[in-house]
Amino acid sequence: MEKLTRFSYFLVLCLFAWSSSYAQKKTVSGKVTELESGKPIPGVNIIVKGTMAGVATGAAGEYTIVLPDEAEVLIFSSVGYTSQEITINGRSVIDVTLEAYVQSLKETIVVGYGVQRRSEVTGSVSVVSGRELEEHPGFNALQSLRGKVSGVKISTNSGSPTGSNRVVIRGIGTINASTNPLYIVDGVALDNIETMNPNDIQSVEVLKDASATAIYGSRGANGVILVTTKRGGTEKGLRLEYNGDFSIGRLARKIDVMNAKEFMEVQRIGYENAPIFKNYAPGQEPVIDLSDRRIFDAQGNPLYDTDWQEEATRTALTHNHQLSVRSKGESGSFGAFLNYTDAEGIYLNSWTKRASVKLVYDVSLAKWLSLGTNTTITKTWANNVSETGGGFHASRAITEVPPIFPVKWPEGTWSNSTEISGFTFEGQPNPVHRLLEEDNLANGTRLFGNLFLDFKLASYLQFRSQVGINNYLSENRYYAPTDMITVGFPDGYASISNGKQTYWQNENYFTYTREFGSHRLNGVLGASWQQNLASGNAMSARGFTNDFFNFNNIGAASTQNPSTSYANDWSMNSYFSRATYTYKDRYTATFSGRMDGSSRFGKNNKYGFFPSGGVSWLVSNEDFMRNVKAIDHLRLRASFGVTGNTEIGLYRSLATIGSGTTLIGGQRVARSFAQRLPNSDLEWERTRQFDAGIELTMFNQALLLEADYYNKLTYNLILDRPIPTSTGFGSITDNIGSVSNKGIDLKLTSRNINTENFTWSTTLNFNYNKNRIESLGLNNEDIFPGPNWVAGSQTILRVGEPVSSFWGYERSGVWGSDEAEEAAKVGAIPGEAKRSTEKTIIGKGIPDVTGGLFNRFNIGRFDALIDLQVSLGADIMQQFLATAEDRQGLTNGISTQLYDAWTSDKQNTMVQRIRHTVLSGQNLQPDTRWICDGSYIRGNLFSVGYNFGQRMLATMGLSQLRVSLSLENAFVIHSKDFKGYDPESSTWHGDNFGQNIFFYEYPKARTLTFGINVRFK
């Protein structure tokens, strides 16, 4: 209770600026010496923590500082030495020794099955601290990770609060299997971490090369993201902490959709042009009919000019609360972490909420036995706005429903685009109607539990047995009301589906660590069992007499669709090992490997072995480097290994019979059919990866560089290999084909300015990747993996080209008046698009270069961050131009239809002559007009924070208080040819090759967030 009072007291105080007075001046004096030599150090900066007050030591290393009232801690820092914080505790003399800086050899990082000294890790591992993730306010841990690790491309492809992210590490190295990395949370494998509370994360380690990932064997090929969550208290006593974010988001950019006047002008010209496209008997030419008084006034002017982008979006309010309690006692520690988030999307009625509780308990049961456990319960609720490709979703209607319709008619009913006489528009519900009245509720409950026992068998030998369970229950409830055309019309549609997934794993392993003189040996040996059981059911119906029941009484509907259910499982049994040997703290060699057995593979190939080896040389520890003062740390490393990918569909190696129903004699009757051509030799996709890296720290840590070159070849590609369709099957799942990814990861940090009151550091994360398909199938057959929305597959897989190559025609212009004869040969007339006769590769959806540039500042008690993200070299296929520009008259579209359209006076254009689809048909094909440069620079995050000083904190009884303000997605610089919302996107979320193909995606918000972090004493 007292804490709460203090808290409210502090809130009031926050509103005031405050000044400190210096009544009685206390002083502290002392001497600063070097730890190793005992020599005095001159020029050491000493400041009172949380203030600007500071002095420096003199030639003899001596100092005296006058303390302000609130002084509690002194900070001693000097270039070339590790700085120290010392609590004053009422002392008046404080002597200090500083340690000359060498990167601590003992610093450890988390790796697969254990921790290792950073200097002994031979693989490429990037670390992101929880603090760095917290810089980015948000609902989703993956979004906070964006740009922070070179070589990890995280695409936030939707602005929806429930949108998922696509994570690709070091390029797409697969075609049919998943590109998702493996997530290991506290040692337990998880399929995704989208709904995980980002605030629970202590650190994230990204394992990128084979030396680091081979211990995860057949699941490591896409890289591994290790998430370590926060545990109980590390200091004696109780610690209470609160974090809160409050944000407002607005549509960041509007599409240039035509208004009512422009739209009617296109209609008018469309009518005027009709005789150009079709012969009409004299006097029979179509005439525009503006007589519908619901829409037009007596003069034929539209009564409404609805801006659907305005009507269907809102200022989205999001708040996020995190409360943690941590304590440490004699033999154990405890932590409780609570989270509640309520996030709104900028589309009306699009939202998600999350509540989670995590409990952590670590205890030492005996000298040789300790136990740790954590349990997380996460509950999510959401209303999902449908947005994936095709279909008349709100995200499409917002552009396409003509602006001449009102949101609601004067009598209170929702408008739709068919409610007009004299015109035919493509029937769509208006987006506001759709958003507000269509329910698509998704609830999820995740129970994630983890228990480990550590047995200390000897001083050098430890055994850990760990059991993890991830149980996920999902429920989706959907209802489309009876008045929503194309969706629920005319008699409503309801569905409910439930899914259940239970994953468990048991892993047991020995850890051996021993030093013999200059030799250090570290080893892991263990076994793993994993099993995943999934099942679900669904029901749906239409035929409701009214909208009363929604999805709550599906039995009341007259037409019941067959209910469905499924069940499947997979299992794995594995053995893994790693051995690391280091000599003289300079030379390290690591061998790791895993033997994996997976139920997914053919009976002839159940087990596979995935080995790797790596070496590292800590050059800066060599004697000859002693005198190279400029270099603090230099390490070279190289690795080679093989990993696998098992993430393919189940039962691909078996001949199975599928079942369903069909119609014969007016009734549903059972039907059965062969599912696939089986392949009992099916085995893992394998990735062979070479990595060479350098780690360099220079000028007393002013410059840090970590760079890796990698060369990855994925072979035995699990491919739906095209086979003659005369077999009755289009393809067989087979291990044929290879894809390479070669590139450079680079992380460069520069501490530009480093004074007591002002620090400025810059970090650049950069990745260059070149993707190439090396072989496919038996005869290098082209594969057309989709998406198949407009006229065939929009991408092609072809040897020599990168995956995700766009497939379409070249548009060289529009047929001119003087080319009528030539145009006629292809069935066209002047004013229609001039295209190549055959399809070709017209772009690619994956970038060459991606990166993040972070500038961090500390000015006194202020801190600031500028986070810029860059993507270069990808193209965008603006599939939506099919209906927003090429297809005219039938719906609304973008204003180029009107302003850039071909006319006999303006022939040098890419936009076809205005043509009313309903009267005159149309002419659209995927072509280069839809392609634009997809490079962009995003102002991802600008934030500024303020840390309250000790005195203020003392008054409020707090140990830390930080407030911050951040602006997310401040700007995006992109090609002017790009007509959509955001160049980082995909409407084809589930599709490996759908990246950068847009058919009206959920737009992104620009978000302003106020954050607060309070730590109670």
Partner: protein, 518 residues
């Protein structure tokens, strides 16, 4: 305690073989299947809605695959051809192995998937333990019917295709050469003759037999096959006699009747076809149902510019617009079929409002319940009607026996129904006076007029290599298709009579050779 640790840890490291065995739960493995007659039947049931039977639904802007021949002939147009380019490519004959590859892939993969299903059924059904002979043979006959139906579609449109008669369980032997055209026909004939001659298919008509394959359906398909074999490219005219024999057996079975006109114009036979799925004229239909298995035909029955009040479809387009050249094949004064609101319509009244289209659209698919009430079509697509059986009979009899009374009667049956104000005697006497050649041409003309929306245009052009050129009064002049220029200005070359083999399929199967001319 501590010493037990090693034992426990050792136990935790031991593997177990069974752990990795994969046992599907919502699918059955093949060796568990084909244990009962019911399983055999459910396998055969799949065939009713797979392969070439799927080519009749006109959804998705391109129009149905069955109508592609109508587009190639240039006699039908599709309003949505700018949205999906295939009908346009067909009309202006600009299709080739590359630009139509993905579209043609769908034809092959659907047809061969059905063939594979039939092959599996044909292989395993005989071994089902305890299956009664009658049921076994009935199921086998159905499977063979559908295998033949799909091969017939392929051989007509692509020529000699790979002939696969056994199911595959691995990749052994998957690269199959193209067979000779005659070999494909031989299999088709063998399958259908077996289906017709064993005695377990029903003698009832299709509707009475609850929409399962009857002897009549198999016979009608066989008759069509014989007819096609009699013409190009095989030109095996001896098949005319077989066609005559089998159509006579259908006619003599007495199970089928032409729908007769009721009160004109609303209750004409053609309007009955539009509104009723249960008529004894239907020899084989592809069944649809608004709830269980919908069809999109209502959405292609109205031009997009026509939006009557209460229309429940968000978009309609006239995918089957007969061109003026097609309409010219009819005698507009005498022929009921070309009158407004029979097979086609060019205006309609809805809720007191009158809509003029300025063009013809397929009235046969104008399903008012779907269009104005439910937005879900359920009209069956007819594949063989008794009218066609009569026309095949008339042609085959005339060829083999001459212009007999019987041949005249069959053609007159079909024509008299349409020529509502012409006396049957007049029709018969005109026909009786014709030479064999003239009479056969009269049958062909009648086929174009009667089977306009049964998708026979291109098959007839393929087998006769003659193109119908209409002029005033429904006079039709047959000209050589090769060298003829269609209404879209494209001139046929011989190779256009077959489609190309898709480039993709050529890549997948190196043994394939392209059709000449592509």
């Amino acid at each position: 305690m501590k010493k037990y640790m090693f034992i426990i840890t050792a136990l935790l490291m031991v593997g177990c073989e069974r752990f990795l065995i994969e046992e599907p739960k919502s699918e059955q493995s093949l060796d568990q299947f084909f244990q009962s007659a019911g399983e055999g039947r459910s396998f055969v049931n799949t065939l009713y809605k797979s392969g070439a039977t799927g080519f009749y639904d006109p959804g998705g802007f391109t129009g149905s695959i069955a109508m592609m021949g109508g587009y190639i002939s240039g006699l039908f147009d599709n309003e949505a051809k700018g949205e999906r380019i295939e009908p346009l490519r067909a009309q202006n004959l600009s299709f080739n192995a590359q630009n139509m590859s993905e579209y043609l892939d769908r034809w092959w993969s659907s047809a061969y998937s059905a063939i594979a299903t039939a092959n599996t059924a044909i292989k395993y059904i005989p071994n089902i333990p305890g299956i009664p002979d009658a049921e076994k043979n009935q199921l086998l006959a159905e499977a063979k019917f559908f295998r033949a139906f799909n091969y017939f579609f392929l051989v007509k449109n692509f020529g000699g295709v790979p002939l696969v008669t056994e199911p595959y369980f691995n990749t052994e032997g998957i690269y199959v050469d193209r067979a000779q055209i005659v070999e494909v026909y031989n299999l088709i004939v063998e399958d259908l003759e077996w289906a017709v001659n064993q005695d377990n298919l029903s003698n009832n008509n299709f509707v009475t037999n609850n929409f399962r394959i009857t002897k009549g359906a198999a016979s009608a398909l066989l008759a069509d096959v014989y007819l096609q074999m009699s013409g190009y490219p095989l030109h095996a005219e001896s098949n005319y006699a077989k066609a005559a024999a089998i159509t006579k057996s259908i006619i003599n079975s007495g199970s089928y009747q032409l729908i007769q006109n009721g009160a004109l114009p609303e209750k004409s036979a053609y309007n009955v076809m539009r509104t009723s799925d249960k008529e004894s004229e239907y020899v084989f239909s592809i069944e649809f149902d608004p709830v269980i298995y919908g069809v999109s035909s209502p959405s292609v029955s109205l031009p997009g510019s026509i939006r009557p009040p209460g229309l429940k479809y968000s978009r309609t387009y006239n995918a089957y617009r007969p061109t003026d050249q097609y309409i010219a094949l009819y005698d507009e004064t005498k022929d009921l079929r070309v009158q407004n609101q029979q097979l086609f319509f060019k205006s309609v009244d809805v809720r007191g409002e009158h809509f003029e289209f300025g063009e013809y659209a397929p009235y046969l698919f104008y399903d008012t319940v779907a269009l104005y009430e439910t937005a879900r079509g359920g009209q069956d697509m007819r594949v063989y009607r008794y009218a066609e059986v009569l026309l095949i009979a008339a042609e085959a009899i005339a060829f083999t026996e001459g212009v007999t009374q019987e041949a005249v009667k069959y053609l007159a049956d079909v024509r008299a129904r349409a020529y509502w104000n012409t006396s049957r005697n007049e029709i018969e006497s005109t026909l009786s006076g014709l030479t064999k050649d003239e009479f056969i041409k009269e049958v062909w003309k009648e086929r174009y007029r009667e089977l306009a929306l049964d998708y026979r245009i291109w098959s007839d052009i393929q087998r006769t290599r003659l193109y119908p050129v209409g002029s005033a009064g429904g006079n039709i002049n047959f000209v050589n298709v090769v060298g003829h220029t269609n209404p879209w200005g494209a001139t046929y070359k011989e190779h256009h009579l077959l489609y190309p083999i898709s480039d993709n399929e050529m890549q997948r199967n190196p043994k394939l050779e392209q059709n000449p001319g592509y």
